[in-house]
Amino acid sequence: MRFVAEIFEGLAIALDAIRVHKLRAALTTLGVIIGVLTVTLMSAAINGIKTSFSENVMALGADTLYVSRMDWFIGSPDEWIKQSRRPRITLEQIRQLERLLPPQQFCIPYAEGTQPVKFKTRTAEAVEVVGTTDKFILATSARVAQGRFLTPAESDGARPVCVIGANVAANLFEGEPALGSRIWVGRNTFEVVGVFEKQGEAIPQAALDDAVVIPVGQFITQFRREPDFTVLVKTGDPGRLGEAREELRGAMRRVRRLPPDAEDDFAINSQESYLDLFNRVGGRIAAAGLFVTGLALFVGGIGIMNIMFVTVAERTYEIGLRKAVGARQRAILVQFLIEAACIALIGGVIALLLAWPGTWLLQLLVPAAMSVPTMLLALAVSLLTGLVAGFVPAWRAAKMKPVEALRHE
C-alpha cells in the first residue's frame, strides 16, 4: 500500500517537474527521441530486409534441390579451384538420375549462357539465355504474364521458341506486341511464345526479368554442345528435404560412377544455403548497425543522467523536507527514477510516432517493416534507458542526509 502511494506520489511529482521545466524536458527528450528513433528504424529495416529476403528465397521453391558441379557459396580460393576441376554434368546423366529417383520426383535440366538478342534494330547485348524444359515453370516463382510457357513437345524438340523476361520484352519491343514475333538470339531466330511477369530484384540469380528461356534441345544444338548443367530436383515435400537430399546424393554418385571411397564430384545446393549466408552476413551487419544506432541512444541516456543530476541538486532542499516528514530512501529513489523514466518514455513514445512516417520513407530504400514487437521493444528500451540513466542521480538523492539536505537552501 505504501509503495503504491509512493509510486503515485513519484508520478505526480515527475509530471509536475516536467510541466514546470518544459524546455529542459523537451531538450532532454530530444536525445532519447533521436536514439530510440534510429534504433527503431534500424530494427525495422533489418526485420524488413530479412522477411523480404526469406520470402524471395522461399519463392525459389522450398522443396527444390539444385545439383550442380560447384557449391553456390565457396569458402576459399583453393576449394574453388578444386571444385572447378570437376567434370560437367551432362544431359545423359540427368536422364539417368531421373530414372533412379522416386517416381513423384522429377529433374529439370538448366543451362545458361550469354548471347546478344536483337529485334528489328534494337539490340540487347549479353542477355542471359536459359535452356530448360517445360517443367521449369513448376520450380520457379516466375509467372507467365502473356502467352504460355514451353510445352513438353517443345522441350527437347527442334522448334525455336522462347519465353522472355519482362525487362527483355520492355527493351526490345518498347510496347509493340511481343507474342508471335521472332527475335534474334545469337545467330538464330526464335519465336516469342510467352512473356514473364516482372519479378523484382531481391535475388538476381532467381529472377528471369533479364533472361530468355529456350528449350534445352535448342540450347544444345544452337549454343553449346556440352553445357555445365544444373539439375533442379523437385522433391515434392519440403519437410523431407534432408532425406531427399541423401537419396539424391546416393543416386547422383551412382550416375557419376563414384567408387565408395571417392569424394562427391558435385554439389547439392538448396535455398537454405542462401538463408545461411544471409543469416551469417546479415547478423553481423545487424549487430554493427544496432551498435552504431545504440550509440545515439547512449548519448540520449547521458542527457537524461545529466539533467537528473541537475534536478537532484536543485531539489536538495525538497528532498530534505520529504525525508524530514518520513520519506524513506526507497521513496526518494523511486521518485527520481520515475521522473527519469517518464522523460525517457515520453521520448520513446514520440520516437515511435515519428518512426511511423520514418518507416515509409525508409521503404523507398529498403523493404523496412515496423512490427508490434519492434514497437514494444522500442518502448522497453527507452524505459530501460531512463531507469539506467536515472539510477545514479536517484541513488545520490536517496542517500542524502536529511540535515545536510535541509541546510541546502
Partner: protein
C-alpha cells in the same frame, strides 16, 4: 515535573561533533536532558550555541556522535536511515522557519505529504489532512497554492502538516522568524492552544518574546545546557525570576 509525568525524550551524555576541514567542532557537549509528555519547551541560545543541532538530534534528523537518545523509551541512537525516517514520520512533526511547503502543491496536498509516506490510503489521507487544516483554521484555503497565501497562513499549513500524523512531538525551529510580529503572535497563540490540548511542543528560538510562551526554557551556550528554567503554568511576567534563577 510531577511523578506521574511520562518521560518522552531522554538524552544521556549526548555529544555531537562535526569535522570541518581538519578541525572538529563540538556542537553538543555532554548534553543530558529529559522532556516529559505534554511539556511546552523553548530551546534558546545565541547562534552557534548548538540549539539547531539539539533540535536536529531530538527530531531524529541527525544522530549523536556519542551518548544515548531515547524517544518514548526506544533507543533511536543506533537506528539506520530508514528506521529514523519511520520515527520522524510517526512521532515528530516539524515546523520550519521558512515554512518549507512544496510550492506547486495545494495546502491540502502539502498537509497530506507525511501520510503518503506513512502509506495511508488516499481517501483517509484527504480526510485527515482536511481535519488538520481545520485545526489551524484554514479549511477554506485547502485548494490554494502556497504563493496564494500570506506568511502566517503558510506557517499554519506547515503546522497542520506537522500535526496530521498525530506526532508525539511538535518541533518548531524559529517558527516566527519569517513573520511580522502580529502574525508571529498569532502563530504562537496557536502553539499555546495546541499545548493546552496536550501536545508536546519544543520551540527553538532566539527571541525572548517567543520563548515566553513556553513553560520551560532551556538555554544553550557553547554546546552545553547553561540553564533550564521552569515557569508556573498560569504565569506571565515571571521571565525575570526565571532569568535570575538561571544566573544563580
Amino acid at each position: 515535573m510531577t511523578a506521574l509525568a511520562v518521560v518522552l525524550i531522554r538524552l544521556i551524555n549526548v555529544w555531537r561533533c562535526y569535522k570541518v576541514g581538519a578541525e572538529t567542532v563540538e556542537a553538543l557537549r555532554d548534553v543530558s536532558l529529559e522532556i516529559a509528555k505534554g511539556e511546552y519547551v523553548a530551546i534558546m541560545g545565541p547562534s552557534g550555541s548548538g540549539k539547531s543541532t539539539l533540535m536536529n538530534v531530538i527530531g531524529c534528523l541527525d544522530t549523536p556522535t556519542s551518548g544515548i537518545y531515547e524517544l518514548d523509551g526506544v533507543n533511536v541512537t543506533e537506528m539506520d536511515d530508514d528506521q529514523l525516517a519511520e520515527v520522524r514520520n510517526r512521532r515528530i512533526g516539524f515546523v520550519f522557519q521558512t515554512f518549507n511547503l512544496l510550492p506547486r502543491a495545494t495546502a491540502l496536498r502539502n498537509v497530506e505529504l507525511p501520510l503518503i509516506y506513512a502509506g495511508v490510503p488516499a481517501g483517509a489521507r484527504r480526510e485527515r489532512a482536511r481535519r488538520a487544516l481545520e485545526q489551524v483554521g484554514l479549511s477554506h484555503r485547502a485548494r490554494h497554492l502556497p504563493n496564494e497565501m500570506s506568511g502566517g497562513e503558510r506557517q499554519r499549513v506547515a503546522i497542520a502538516r506537522a500535526l496530521v500524523n498525530n506526532p508525539s512531538i511538535l518541533l518548531a525551529d524559529e517558527p516566527t522568524g519569517n513573520l511580522d510580529s502580529k502574525t508571529g503572535s498569532e502563530i504562537m497563540a496557536l502553539f499555546d492552544r495546541l499545548a493546552e490540548q496536550g501536545n508536546t511542543i519544543i520551540v527553538v528560538t532566539h527571541e525572548e518574546d517567543v520563548a515566553k510562551h513556553a513553560r520551560r526554557i532551556i538555554r544553550l551556550r557553547d554546546g552545553r545546557i547553561a540553564a533550564d528554567e521552569r515557569r508556573p503554568v498560569a504565569g506571565s511576567g515571571t521571565v525575570g525570576s526565571a532569568a535570575r534563577s538561571a544566573a544563580g
